[in-house]
Symmetry: C2
Subunit: 232 residues, 2 copies
C-alpha cells in the first residue's frame, strides 16, 4: 500500500457516503459505473481506487452495497472507536459538536477545552468545558485519539502544539491556517522534532472550499475531467 | 489549461495561505523548496503546480512573496467580488457567517435563508433571515454567485435543487451528503438536465475529514508521500 494517492482516500470516503445513501434508499446492488456517475469520476477510477485494498466485487456482477460498505468501513478504520477532544467552543466548536452524523462510526467526543473564562465550566452536549491548561492531565488519564481545532486563526498553531505536546497524534484543523510542525536543524538538515513524528494533520477549511469554488466557476471546463491526474 | 488536476487547485489554495502567513511575518522572499516544506509536498510539485499558470519566479532566485500572492489571487479569481447566500441558519450556518476571514477576498454574504418560522426575520450579522420560498425572487433581482448549503442532511438535495432552479451556479455544500445533479435520459444516455449544466458543487465535509484522519492515523506511512499521484 506504499503509493496510494491521498486523492484516492478522499474518493473512498465519497464512495462510502454514496453507499450509505444507496442503503438508505433500499438499493442493494451497485456497479463501478453507477458509483462513478454518482461520484463524478470514471468507472476506471472507481475500480482502480478499490483495487488498492482488495477485490470487492465479482467481475461483471458489480457490488453488493452492504458488503462493499462494510469493507470500506474496515479499510478506513471506522469500525473502531475514536475518542475526540474539541479545542475551542465558540460557534464553530459548537457547530462541530452538534454536526449531524458526527457520532456515527464511533467518533466519540470525550472532552471540550477553551481558554475563555466565561465558558469554562459550561455544559455542551453533556460535556463540561475545561481549561486548556488541563488538557495535558486529561490526556494522561484518558485515551484521546484526535483533537479538533476550532480556535481563532492566531491561536491555532499554539493549540496544535499543545495537543501534540499532550501526546495527541491526530489533528483535524478547522482554522484557516496551515499548521507548521516544529522542526529541528540537525547536521544542516531540517527534521521533525520528536513529538511531531507520526502526527497526522488533516484540514477542513471553509475558505479553501470557497476559493476552489471561485476558481471552478471561472473555469468550469476544468471541472469536466474529474481527478484527471489519475487517468493517464 | 485543459488537464489541471483538481488536487493542484487545492494546493494553490494552500500555497496562497502560506504566502499570507509569510507576509504577516514580514518575510518577503520564498522559494519552491521553502513553500514545499511548509505545504508538505515536494519542490518539484510546487514548480509543476505553478507552471500551469505561468512563470512567477526567476530561475534560481525564488519568488517575491507579494508578487506570487497577487498572481495566485488573480488565478483563483479572488480579486473580484463574489456574492454569497447562506441556506440554513442553525449553528453551522451561523458558524459560517461568522467564520474569521470569510469576508476577506471580497466574499460578501448578501442574504440568509431558512425554513424555520422561529428564525425568519431574525438578524444575523446585519442580514435578515428570509424564507426559502423567497430565494427565487431574491436571485431574480440580486446578483448571487454562490450558495452555501448549511442545512440538515435530508434537506440538502432539495435545497441544492432550489438554488440551481433559482439560477445559482456555484454551491459550497457543508452537509454530509453527496449532491446528485438531476439527469435526463435522452436516446438511452444519461445527461445533465439543462439547469445543472455549468453548475459547480464543492464540498466542505467535516465527517470526510474525520474519516481521512482515521485512515491516516492507522496508516501513517502512507502520509509520507504527499500527493504521490503527481510525482511519477
Amino acid at each position: 500500500m506504499a503509493d496510494i494517492p491521498t486523492a484516492a482516500i478522499s474518493r473512498l470516503v465519497t464512495y462510502l457516503r454514496i453507499l450509505e445513501q444507496l442503503e438508505a434508499q433500499d438499493i442493494s446492488r451497485t456497479s463501478s459505473t453507477d458509483l462513478a456517475e454518482r461520484a463524478g469520476v470514471t468507472a476506471f477510477q472507481v475500480r482502480k481506487d478499490l483495487a488498492y485494498f482488495g477485490r470487492f466485487g465479482t467481475r461483471g456482477m458489480g457490488y453488493t452495497v452492504a458488503i462493499l460498505k462494510r469493507e470500506l468501513v474496515r479499510v478506513l478504520g471506522l469500525n473502531q472507536t475514536w475518542n475526540v477532544v474539541i479545542i475551542g467552543t465558540g460557534r464553530l466548536g459548537q457547530a462541530i459538536a452538534n454536526y449531524p452524523g458526527a457520532s456515527d462510526y464511533q467518533f466519540q467526543y470525550v472532552a471540550l477545552f477553551d481558554v475563555n473564562p466565561a465558558v469554562i465550566g459550561q455544559q455542551i452536549r453533556g460535556l463540561t468545558v475545561q481549561h486548556m491548561n488541563d488538557l495535558r492531565s486529561f490526556v494522561e488519564v484518558n485515551r484521546v485519539d484526535m483533537g479538533f481545532l476550532a480556535v481563532p486563526p492566531d491561536h491555532a498553531q499554539d493549540a496544535a502544539q499543545s495537543l501534540v505536546d499532550a501526546g495527541v497524534r491526530g489533528i483535524l484543523n478547522f482554522a484557516p491556517v496551515v499548521i507548521q510542525p516544529r522542526t529541528l536543524e540537525r547536521a544542516g538538515q531540517h527534521e521533525l522534532s520528536d513529538e511531531w513524528r507520526n502526527v497526522i494533520v488533516e484540514n477542513v477549511d471553509f475558505l479553501a472550499g470557497m476559493k476552489r469554488l471561485a476558481f471552478y466557476i471561472l473555469n468550469p471546463h476544468l471541472k469536466d475531467a474529474p481527478n484527471s491526474e489519475d487517468q493517464e
